[in-house]
């Protein structure tokens, strides 16, 4: 990779919190106040969030947490970000029971009943088990595809 492209890669551009909040509101119904204690930055196709503090003038490799990937449409929330902001979500939620939570954490796809995925529109969803956020799933026509990153998956039983 050329020097120039690596420099470009490392530029964090400040973003208006309102612009970020609007995206999360339209998909998950999360109120803008949930994002008020943070600053947001864009780097390449990713959006990052950090607690609202003055950042000293330094060259940064990462600023807080990567919360969204905007490379493809629709944008995709990270599992880590859903574990922070997902508790404020009002729609596109999936509630799993113990067995399906395990399948989800193993990184596998599964059919979920209508009761579990009440009124979910196709797309990314916040996945819950007993009120706690497991992470990001991709839901479409009754199928839930786990988006749990590989290094954070449970080992499959019997493996």
């Amino acid at each position: 990779m050329s020097q120039r492209s690596s420099r470009v890669r490392n530029v964090f551009l400040p973003l208006e919190p309102a612009a970020v909040a609007e995206l999360w509101d339209s998909r998950f119904g999360i109120p803008a106040e949930a994002f008020s204690g943070y600053r947001f930055f864009k780097k390449a196709n990713s959006i990052w969030a950090i607690s609202d503090v003055e950042l000293p003038r330094l060259s940064y490799e990462a600023i807080g947490m990567r919360i969204m990937n905007c490379k493809d449409r629709p944008w995709k929330p990270t599992t880590a970000a859903l574990q922070v902001f997902g508790k404020y979500a009002a729609r596109n939620l999936v509630h799993l029971d113990a067995d399906s939570a395990r399948i989800f954490l193993e990184g596998k796809s599964q059919e979920v009943g209508e009761a579990a995925a009440m009124e979910c529109e196709p797309g990314y969803v916040v996945v819950f088990y007993r009120g706690e956020i497991l992470g990001c799933g991709l839901y479409s026509h009754g199928l839930l595809v786990s988006q749990i990153p590989k290094e954070r998956r449970l080992a499959s039983r019997g493996e």
Partner: protein, 310 residues
């Protein structure tokens, strides 16, 4: 393992110290209060029949008796972090307060960084510095898994970290890691005095820069997981002497002074740092630092010094 013999005169109860080296260390974990309350987490572990014991000295520390604690669902969800018992000491000695500016100069894999972030309840700023790109990946992954929202990562050589005025700086320095023998035998075979002296050049550079980057009245904690005085008291003593000398030669600058404060963790038994090594006087002040030996608390080995910049 005979390399340890050179510590015969400074380690109390020598036979017990030698004997424990071949006994493996249990796994331990820290409860991540950024994501879960302690009581709720303990209930979960009980429900799932995960055998654990609490630390006597730290409410968030647990000894966990399972083969692969990293694969526990609690770890994958960021409710706990697998962290060696004594590795939880330096952040407690550093004592970060929510809202402060903290620098963690040698941060990866981020166990102490995220503990600091949790102590600050995600308020204020932690700059986590790690020069190696490969090691930054683990640092980032741990910060994100644990929900640390007030951490920014930089990649400077810690000796040249350019600027800042931090309330507290942690220098958990690269070291020969003799205190980790119980986690994976073989460390001691690679240890020797020359290696320690080579490392000490880097360590002194890191500590001197940390002192420069700290506000007057601020705190610097220097820690290693090794016994070698060349990497511990000698580093602290040399860095304090050198910053004092720099000031004498540069009249324009206000003198930088720094002194040690005693390191005590109630419930953990420590030995005082040594004031003399191989006939060399390191200053009586060094006895305020703490040496943790594996046979005294059934842990690994650690050294911790707390420095106050005047």
């Amino acid at each position: 393992m005979d390399f340890l013999d050179r510590y015969r005169d400074i380690v109390p109860d020598w036979e017990a110290f030698r004997a424990i080296q071949s006994r493996p260390l249990y796994s331990s974990a820290r409860i991540n209060t950024l994501k879960i309350e302690r009581e709720v987490l303990l209930e979960r572990l009980t429900e799932e029949a995960v055998p654990y014991r609490r630390f006597d000295w730290y409410p968030l520390g647990l000894k966990i008796d399972v083969e692969s604690p990293g694969k526990l669902v609690e770890n994958l969800l960021g409710h706990i972090h697998i962290q060696e018992e004594l590795s939880m000491v330096p952040p407690l000695v550093l004592g970060p307060i929510p809202g402060e500016n903290i620098l963690d100069l040698c941060a990866s894999p981020g166990s102490k960084t995220t503990q600091i972030s949790a102590m600050m309840e995600n308020r204020g700023l932690v700059i986590a510095n790690e020069p190696s790109l490969a090691r930054v990946a683990a640092l980032r992954s741990n910060c994100e898994r644990l929900g640390a929202m007030n951490v920014a990562i930089t990649r400077y050589d810690g000796r040249n970290f350019p600027r800042g005025s931090f309330d507290r700086v942690l220098v958990d320095a690269p070291c020969s890691a003799e205190g980790r023998e119980r986690r994976g035998p073989g460390v001691l075979e690679r240890s020797n005095c020359k290696r320690s002296l080579d490392l000490s050049v880097l360590q002194i550079g890191l500590l001197k820069n940390a002192l420069r980057l700290t506000k007057p009245g601020g705190v610097v904690v220097y820690s290693t997981c090794t016994y070698a005085p060349e990497e511990n008291e000698m580093v602290v003593s040399a860095a304090l002497n050198e910053i004092a000398k720099t000031n004498e030669s540069d009249e324009a600058e206000e003198p930088t002074k720094a002194h040690l404060e005693r390191v005590v963790i109630p419930g953990l038994q420590e030995c005082p740092g040594i004031s003399e090594w191989n006939g060399r006087d390191l200053g009586r002040e060094m006895s305020l630092s703490a040496r943790y030996y594996p046979h005294m608390n059934d842990t690994g080995g650690f050294f911790v010094a707390k420095i106050i910049k005047s």
